[in-house]
Amino acid sequence: MWDYTDKVKDYFFNPKNAGVLDEANAVGEVGAISCGDALKLMLKVDPVSEVILEAKFQTFGCGSAIASSSALTELVIGKTINEALNLSNQDIADFLGGLPPEKMHCSVMGYEALQAAVANFRGEEWKDDHEEGALICKCFGIDEGMIERAVRMNRLTTIEAVTAYTKAGGGCLTCFDALEGLLAKVNAKMVAEGVLAEAEAYKAGGADPAALKKKTQAARSAENAGNAGRAAVRAADVAPSPVSPLAPPPKPLTNLQRIRLIEETIEDIRPLLKKDGGDCELLDVDGSNVLVKLSGACVGCQAASMTVGGIQERISARLGVPVRVIPAKSH
């Protein structure tokens, strides 16, 4: 039996806000019966203040899926749309006192349903692009298609990078063999197509899962430390990032330099996004928050979190300080 917290059990056995919300004006549906879990999130949003007045859910899924859905409704009620969008799947898991690693995808489902509901409220289309390809990472529900896209888009050549960009392998890492095989396969294809040098390509057997797992955990705690220190970073705007995989620039950047670097990074990414029918535009830089506008296929794409995460990762690497990329409401 799973090691569920008492709060997970309570929210499963006595779910709050379960049922249909007839006056809902923001509805998000994610998952499918074939995946084993699906969630329909219904919100009643005040059109003027954009405050979420009521939230209800219907869920097909296991204990933690139902508990996560219920927790999500509790978390969003009373928040504005924009406040709610700042919630991450980790917030849902934290609210429940934690979830077993294999069940983290239940909280991701909640996060996605919220994105979908907001898109629906704003009259945008939210596209569920969960492909039929083989599921690789079961913790986070990442399939072959998503990983292949991230590997190609970002020329990833290590397991660590794949985990950073897609979350695949970030949990129990029992998918190591499959992940490794897929990365080697995609890299080999890229070499054959002439878009990747042979020497750079990942070869099976090039990583040790036990060491990787330790590293992932270390990186996670470093990231948490980074988040906690964000305010301080904003004030100084210069601290070298503990998470940056690239060498930080030697000298502090001026605001103008930072904005230019951010612009350049986004320009670099745009052709790739456009190839997939999407686009990204820089709207504003506010301290360590980078506001972007995603358009085209990027809007409401289930991979949006991945796209945003990818952009965030690149900008952070370029600046040498952690930033938070926030997809803004389109004007």
């Binding site: 499963f12 019966i33 899924g61 296991c62 204990g63 933690s64 069940k103 129990c172």
Partner: protein, 400 residues
């Protein structure tokens, strides 16, 4: 709160007589069966008796055809690897898509390291083997055919005696994983073409950690464990005397209770299925209605997820299991139900109730009492239920 243990295909309660029989072998009878002195001689005799008890239950011709092991998994691995080693000029294995992981994982590994080519034969909607595909896969290249006697999830029985005859025609060895079948279906290996059979102690009210592999006299065999003369050199290592004594008695008792399994226990199982099917809409029984273990009921509930059902059942004091993905931490539902082409709408919500001679009627009544309410609650939560096709009382989808 009254409890109901209906997960006997996972493991069974050790019979108290079995516990008593094994205890002296931890204390006074601690000798090593291989020793020349009196301490060893006594243990050695006890092992001989246990071997005969297992032989009798299996209807084997000779007691030395029984090799004691640590359980079903070791027996399965031993059988597969032995066959490949003995048949050096053959490198194919024929098995089915619905085998236990103790078989499937080994086969997949052998494929991965290039040691064997494996044919995974499919099944129909009732879980019955595709005989045409099976015949087609047989050839003089096949070293081993390994097919389970009874399926652990659905209870569906394969006609292994006949399948073994077919394997013989191409000169292949035949092994059967009979872990779920032993003690529930009559077995007479003496007159069969079966070369090897795996069984496990803890599925028949014996302890965990002990099992046996039957190896027909004259069948070619290579040991998995080397390093001692025990079990006639077929399984090295000092014998697990308490476990083996326990397995022997468990087998003898299983023989005595086999009739009960097929009458009283079967009647309880049928009552459970009837009771649930009559009160819960949109559910059906998985498995072969005509040839199934008497103790197993696998019921699919549409539009609900298995783990959620199990959590509610557990709170009501009922232990069962599911082929649901979420229970095991994988996202794919049971490979057995998927091989049977049970739609996702139902595969995720399939629950296995498995009874035993320890099962009493009130346990079954308790399930019939609480299950309809649980399913109704979860369906009210499910976004798919409102739009679902409500089935008639006598719901019989084509796949069931």
């Amino acid at each position: 709160m009254s409890t109901a243990y209906l997960d006997n295909n996972a493991t069974t309660k050790v019979d108290l007589r079995v516990v008593e029989a094994m205890l002296p072998f931890f204390t006074e009878q601690f000798g090593n069966a291989s020793s020349i002195h009196e301490f060893g001689a006594h243990v050695s005799k006890a092992l001989r008796d246990a071997r005969k008890q297992v032989q009798t239950l299996l209807g084997a011709e000779f007691d030395h055809e029984i090799v004691f092991t640590s359980g079903g998994t070791e027996s399965d691995s031993t059988a597969i690897l032995s066959a490949l080693e003995c048949m050096a000029d053959r490198d194919e294995i024929v098995t089915s898509k619905v085998e236990h992981p103790a078989i499937l994982t080994v086969c997949q590994h052998l494929e991965k390291i290039g040691r064997a080519k494996v044919h995974y034969i499919g099944v129909d909607a009732f879980g019955r083997l595709d005989l045409e595909a099976f015949r087609a896969a047989l050839s003089p290249r096949v070293a081993l055919v390994t097919l389970m006697w009874a399926n652990n999830e659905t209870g569906t029985i394969f006609p292994v005696e006949g399948l073994a005859e077919l394997a013989k025609e191409v000169g292949a060895l035949f092994h059967t994983d009979a872990v779920q079948a032993v003690g529930k279906v009559p077995i007479a290996l003496k007159d069969s073409a079966i070369d090897m059979l795996s069984l496990s102690g803890h599925k028949l009210h014996g302890p965990k950690g002990v099992g046996a592999l039957y190896v027909k006299r004259g069948s070619r065999f290579k040991p998995l464990m080397r390093g001692g003369h025990q079990e006639r050199g077929r399984r090295a290592g000092t014998e697990n005397a308490p476990g083996i004594v326990a397995l022997g008695l468990a087998c003898e008792l299983a023989g005595q209770y086999m009739a009960e399994e097929n009458t009283r226990v079967k009647a309880l199982r049928d009552k459970l299925e009837r009771g649930v099917l009559e009160t819960v809409p949109n559910c059906f029984v998985n498995g072969d209605p005509h040839d199934r273990l008497p103790n197993t009921a696998n019921i699919a509930f549409e539009y609900v997820e298995g783990e959620a059902i199990l959590l509610h059942l557990n709170r009501a004091g009922i232990a069962a299991s599911s082929g649901s993905a979420c229970t095991s931490g994988s996202l794919e539902p049971s490979h057995v139900l998927r091989a049977m082409n049970i739609p996702f709408t139902a595969a995720h919500g399939s629950i296995r109730f498995s009874l035993s001679r320890e099962t009493a009627e009130p346990e079954v009544d308790r399930v019939i009492e609480v299950l309809p309410g649980i399913i109704e609650r979860l369906r009210a939560l499910s976004p798919f239920w409102a739009g679902a096709q409500k089935a008639a009382k006598d719901f019989k989808p084509i796949y069931a």
